[in-house]
Amino acid sequence: MRWLICLIPLAAWACGSAATLHTEHQTLGTLNGRTTYAFTTTPGLNEQGFTTGHLFNPIMQRRIRDELTRELAMRGYAVSPAENASLLVTFSAGSRQDVVSQEGQQGPVVRGPAYTVDRGALVLHFIDPESKAVLWRGWGDGVMDSEDDLDEAVRAAVRQIMESFPASKS
C-alpha cells in the first residue's frame, strides 16, 4: 500500500491554473491473456478520508464508463457479457475537504496562513472474475475547483490513470 501515501499537494491556489492530477497505479496480478471485460457495480469510495457524494451521480458514472470504454478499446479489449468477461471493471469516486497549513500543522489553531481545498479522487479496479482478486488498480486525485468543467476534468483523469494500463496480449 506504499502508493496510498504518495499523495502530493497539487495545484497552486488562487491563480486560476488548471487542476493537476496526481496518479498512481498498482499491478497485483497478470493481465496476460485477458481480452474482454464487463463493468460491474460501482461502490462508494471510502478511504483516505474520501467519501462518495452527490457528484458521483449517474451522469458521472456514465461519463467514466464511456471514457473507460474508449481507453480499453484503444488497448485491444472488447466489452462482453459479464459471464464471459476475462476482466471485471469497477470504479469509484469521492471527495474530501483538506485544510492546507504550513508544514502540515493540524488542530484548531495553526501558525501562519491556512486555507481549505476540495480534493476529488477516482479509483479504477480491474478484477479477476473468478477469484474476485484485484489485478490492477489505478488512482487519481486532484484539487477541484467549482468552475471546473467536470466532463472534461473527469475524462482527462480517466485517460491519465489509464496511461499505465497495458494493452491486451492474447
Binding site: 451522469i59 496562513p113 481549505t116 466532463d151
Partner: protein, 192 residues
C-alpha cells in the same frame, strides 16, 4: 499596515451589513453532454427520492419554496408544466447537510489581533509572519436540483449550491429567502 487591514475589515463588514442579506453562494451544474435540452420543453416537479420521509414542518415549508421556485424558473425559461406522463423533464429539488471546515486567518501586531480575512481568498504572499489560523467546523447545507429525462428515466442535469446551514433565530427566519435565491442561482445554469 494594521490600520490598512483594519479599514479593509471594516469595509468588508460594512458591505455585508448593507448587501449581504444572504450568505454568499455559488451555483454549479453538471449535465449529460450531447443532450438536447431545447426540444419538447415540458416538465413536472416531483418529490425527490433523496428527501427524508419525516420532514419537520419547517423543512416541508422550505421544500415547498424550492419546488415552487423550480416551477417558476423553468416557466420563465419557456418550459411548460405538464402532467407526469406527458412531461419530458422531471425536476426534483432536495437538500443535504454535511460538516465542513472554515478557516479564519488572524494577524498579531504588538499583541493586538486584527482579523484580516475569512476563508481562503487571501493570497499566501500577502500574509505576514505573525499570523495564526483558526479552524472551526460548521454545518453546510447543499440545495440540489436533479432533472431527469422522463422517457429514458435518466438523470441528465444536476445543479447545486451550498451555504451554511441556518441556525436558530434570525438566520432561520431568513431561510425561505435564501432557498428561493439559491434555486434561482442554480436554475440560472439551466439549460447549459
Amino acid at each position: 499596515m494594521t490600520i490598512g487591514w483594519g479599514l479593509m475589515s471594516i469595509g468588508v463588514l460594512g458591505a455585508c451589513a448593507l448587501g449581504c442579506g444572504a450568505p454568499p453562494m455559488h451555483a454549479s451544474a453538471d449535465w449529460e453532454r450531447g443532450v438536447d435540452f431545447q426540444s419538447d420543453k415540458t416538465f413536472c416537479v416531483e418529490r425527490s427520492p433523496w428527501i427524508p420521509k419525516d420532514l419537520t414542518p419547517e423543512q416541508a415549508a422550505l421544500l415547498e419554496v424550492a419546488e415552487r421556485t423550480t416551477k417558476e424558473q423553468l416557466a420563465k425559461k419557456g418550459y411548460r408544466e405538464s402532467p407526469r406522463d406527458q412531461a419530458r423533464l422531471v425536476a426534483t429539488p432536495y437538500f443535504i447537510k454535511r460538516k465542513r471546515d472554515d478557516v479564519m486567518v488572524a494577524a498579531t501586531y504588538c499583541g493586538a489581533y486584527d482579523v484580516k480575512v475569512m476563508g481562503k481568498d487571501l493570497p499566501a504572499g500577502l500574509a505576514g509572519s505573525c499570523e495564526e489560523s483558526y479552524i472551526s467546523q460548521f454545518d453546510e447545507g447543499t440545495l440540489l436540483v436533479d432533472l431527469y429525462d422522463a422517457k429514458r428515466d435518466q438523470l441528465i442535469w444536476h445543479g447545486w449550491t451550498s451555504t451554511e446551514w441556518p441556525k436558530q433565530g434570525a438566520q432561520a427566519a431568513n431561510t425561505p429567502k435564501v432557498v428561493e435565491r439559491a434555486m434561482i442561482d442554480i436554475l440560472d445554469r439551466f439549460p447549459p
